[in-house]
Point group: C2
Chain length 599, copies 2
């Protein structure tokens, strides 16, 4: 059985030591009163809820939901936990007070979501879309829709689901076929089959608010013919809408979350935003959803790491190479003393703590993008957010899967046994590399739409920030690491320049190395934050030598053992650029992807 | 549902075009008659058995075994498939004819095992230990034991299991506690609890031969006090031995294979080999078992790849960047046309086909180590085998897990659904990174015992072979790739020299970078074989332009997109060597692995 302890101390380090969050937030009008005490209190209470209410339901939730006569029964305890969540006021944490929310900064919600996802990723799917749907409705909903649905969404009384995917259309929303016809009274009748709707049906809330993409009569083909509709499970007059769950999926993991196939048979819905501009409205939701998925990555990786570390400190197996005098008489040592196990653990840790810094910095950027008093600054922060969001989503989820697998490895054969619990983390987190846009799509979004589309400007601005940190004095004990980081940002600038030139004649080239580019920029972001963290840790070391010493050492670990991946990434990118004009290389990615080997 | 087609054409390429296996084997007396026709016939029949008999049981086998009143019920059809396997004479394929075997070369058995593991990894666990146990008994068993057990083992009438792990002792066999006391009649009474015994109980064979590690009275502590015993489930007089299954594990995957906890309550057994030299006898088994695990890696990766490729050719989603004129009117293209999907597929392919070359070359080396007429050559081949075995085990299983996950990614959200079948490959193969010595232990074995222990000689000899290929004329179209490979082997030589010097004062250093060193040498081996494969493919291109063209392109892909990992690996190794004397780096791997972050 696993255990979970909220990483409060590390969260405090990130919020207060590294980001100086209260001072930053106080400059934004809605957060003028937010101080360290308040933030700390929220973090502690969130941690307690995650640890005490949600985590005990996590292992049993792996048995999955039950589908019976159109109803979905979530695992035992899920509905009661949701009731407590709602009563404690967690759902609308960052929603505006005038809508019934708590009006707190987004950075705190990110921390809340990390801990909820550590404690129970399956459960956290049910309220997971709230903030995305809130942003979408606030920005694009009619006054009537807002009045009718915002209060219950913000309070968590009704949950939100997203109806996008159809059996033949996943990544390619342009292929969607669901239709919506005007009913004459301002409402529409929605018809079609949606799959992969998380929480499309459940037994936790009295009503469900489905946000559904469908086509109006005569709408153009492709994504420009999609409109977004709000279709509740229960209509305002109390009647059941014609939207029914027809089955739930049996999945590799995340089984506590009901993945529903839904049939819309002329279900009543109302348009959100403009006709044929559904994708635009949906994207207000998707960006928040992508940051949410990033928090799943950190959350599950943290859970796996904590348990691998605890096991490594207990499990005694073989003598360590370099054992202290005090243990010379022992038959064997805790495996945490073996370098191979230390590598597995420290790699997880470097990514988790780095990822947490990145996610919180992103959360704070989101708060600034919404509330900075200066419009230009809001714009710049929006741009920064656009650049970083795909990195947070893709890099943190990929690492979570790897990290959970590394944690399993620490458990050895016992890790493969279901009872141990660690293998659930590997299964649960795997889907995060896929949904809300596959990690490959995130990489294409980053390179094509966020980096190359504006001639590299957004990226240059971000790299300038990184370089400013790397050249700042005093450099601290990581001076040579700062130098390595500078070399890398220069290499990336050169690559982007080459890509801008190459992509005219070789439109495929950026698509081939998008994954590498995402990780390259991601490593610059992580290295930047680790550099800042190490300097702060060195300044504060005397206050808590174990914590701050460990932080500085983890920074060194990141630069020694993790950051060198940039050499591989640059190696691939440059090899691809060099050979970009070769017909043979073009061929290697397509012509032989046949079944010819079977013979 | 998945499908499986034996990759016959590629196996033929490796055996005949690349390795010229018949000519090599004919120089060894027992294989003087082995020709291409015979080998091809064996491969085809093995493929047919795997595809037609085993594969249809694979998905249903994921439901697992049933344990009831001490009996294990394997999934429906498993026992019947085993009967067919036995009747067709597959079990003793490479055992000597005088023991009832077919006397065929090991390289063919490797190919057989790859296909069995593709078709049904869970089922293949049951006969999986046969050849290891055979080698162990032939080398260390008494004449009486051999006479009593070899025929039924070779015929597959009785299956073999291995009893090593105990609850508190996995990687560290020195901690084993099971005891064996002499019964006075030449037999011993074995007492203790063993866990993780694959097929420790089943319903496929009338008898089971347990090979068990235990301690004789007064035996020294640690591994030097272990002896190996043979304890059958049914004794020669027909009585049931006091060795019983007390439960089976619920596992992440590989559920068709029963993982048994076994209680030995004074079970009768006989010593194999010398008292207190059990580990020595066991290792005759372990090395074959490690190659078997490598074949699991290729097998499962191949299954996952085939299905991802087939799906990618069918699934239509979004327009390709560079679509042919013939598709300009289509709404969307098969995802196999998208570079991101091509990258996922080609990376799998480069590793699978490279891994197959490596495994077959290793199999041929094993045949030479046993049967080469020249004793010096046998010795050299033994040395080569010692060097390569941990690479085959660790690198091919790690890649199989990554590859299966990449295959799942190609399926998108559908890959996460159990019904699709691909997620089973990810779960099944995960344990291969753990058992028969974790991949971290393989890396330590390679670097400490195989490379540094003889001052780097074994490795130098292997690298010389690689360099000979890289400098051979004519270089073909991969001349610059050959140059890159040469630079890498030179870098590795320098690193090994530095490690030999550093390890005196810094005994921990090699342990910290053992994983990187394994992958470095592994990439040299793969690059070496891909270089050879590319040259042959270019020479033979006219005979089958699609197949050989694809082979050459895959070689190029390997060098462009996969091989640059060596830059990362060298980056880590050199950073670690550079900072090897720093106290801070020492600290980063230990002092902060505390729970201090929780706060």
């Amino acid at each position: 059985m696993l255990s979970y302890t909220p990483p409060l101390k590390d969260i405090q380090f990130v919020l207060f030591d590294l980001l100086q969050a209260p001072a930053v937030l106080n400059a934004y009008a809605p957060f003028a009163e937010v101080d360290r005490d308040l933030m700390q209190q929220v973090v502690e209470q969130a941690g307690r809820f995650a640890q005490e209410v949600l985590f005990p339901l996590n292992a049993a939730g792996d048995a999955g939901c039950r589908f019976e006569n159109g109803a979905v029964h979530t695992p035992a305890g899920f509905a009661d936990a949701y009731r407590q969540y709602r009563e404690a006021g967690w759902p609308g944490l960052t929603c505006a007070p005038e809508d019934g929310g708590q009006g707190l900064p987004h950075v705190l919600n990110g921390v809340l979501l990390e801990m909820l996802n550590s404690a129970n990723m399956g459960w956290t799917m049910y309220p997971g879309l709230l903030h995305g749907a809130y942003a979408c409705l606030v920005q694009h909903g009619s006054a009537e829709l807002k009045a009718r649905y915002l209060p219950q969404i913000v309070s968590g009384e009704w949950a939100v689901t997203m109806g996008m995917t159809e059996p033949h259309a996943g990544s390619d929303l342009g292929l969607l076929r669901a239709t919506a016809t005007p009913a004459g009274d301002g409402s529409f009748r929605i018809t079609g089959t949606k799959i992969f709707m998380s929480g499309g049906e459940q037994d936790m809330t009295d009503n469900l608010i489905h946000l559904v993409l469908a086509r109006l009569p005569g709408a153009p083909a492709g994504t420009r013919g999609l409109s977004l509709f709000l279709a509740p499970k229960v209509l305002p007059d109390g009647a059941r809408n014609a939207a029914h769950c027809i089955g739930i999926e049996h999945k590799m993991g995340l089984r506590g979350s009901a993945t529903c196939a839904m049939q819309f048979d002329g279900a009543t819905g109302w348009l959100i935003g403009e006709p044929n501009h559904g994708l635009n409205a949906m994207f207000a939701m998707m960006n928040t959803a992508r940051l949410f998925v990033g928090s799943q990555g950190i959350g599950v990786a943290e859970l796996a790491y904590q348990n691998a570390l605890a096991y490594a400190r207990e499990r005694v197996q073989m003598k360590a190479v370099d054992r202290p005098a005090s243990r010379q008489q022992e038959t064997a040592d805790p495996i945490v003393m073996h370098p191979a196990v230390q590598r597995l653990l420290m790699t997880q840790r470097a990514y988790i703590e780095g990822g947490r810094m990145l996610a919180c910095w992103t959360g704070l950027t989101l708060d600034g993008a919404r509330h900075h008093p200066d419009a230009d600054m809001r714009h710049l922060m929006h741009e920064q957010l656009a650049l970083i969001t795909p990195i947070v989503k893709a890099m943190l989820t990929e690492q979570a899967f790897r990290g959970a697998s590394q944690a399993l490895q620490v458990f050895g054969g016992h890790g493969f046994i279901s009872e141990t619990g660690i293998e659930q983390t590997v299964r649960d987190i795997r889907v995060a590399m896929i949904y809300e846009g596959t990690n490959e799509i995130q990489a294409i979004d980053l390179l094509l739409r966020k980096i190359l589309a504006d001639g590299g400007e957004r990226l240059q601005r971000f790299l300038a920030q990184v370089e400013q940190t790397a050249t700042a004095e005093p450099a601290g004990s990581l001076a040579s690491e700062a130098g390595t980081l500078l070399e890398t940002t220069r290499s990336i600038r050169a690559v982007v320049q080459a890509l801008l030139e190459a992509s005219v004649n070789q439109p495929q080239t950026p698509y081939r190395i998008a994954d590498e580019m995402l990780r390259l920029v991601g490593h610059c972001a992580l290295a930047w934050l680790w550099l800042r963290a190490a300097r702060i840790a060195e300044q504060m070391q005397e206050q808590d030598p174990v914590f701050y010493g460990g932080k500085r050492d983890t920074a060194r670990y990141y630069f020694t053992y993790v950051f060198p991946e940039v050499q591989q990434l640059l190696g691939v990118v440059n090899a691809c650029l060099r050979d970009g004009n070769s017909a043979a290389l073009h061929a290697d990615l397509s012509c032989d992807l046949t079944m010819s080997r079977a013979g």
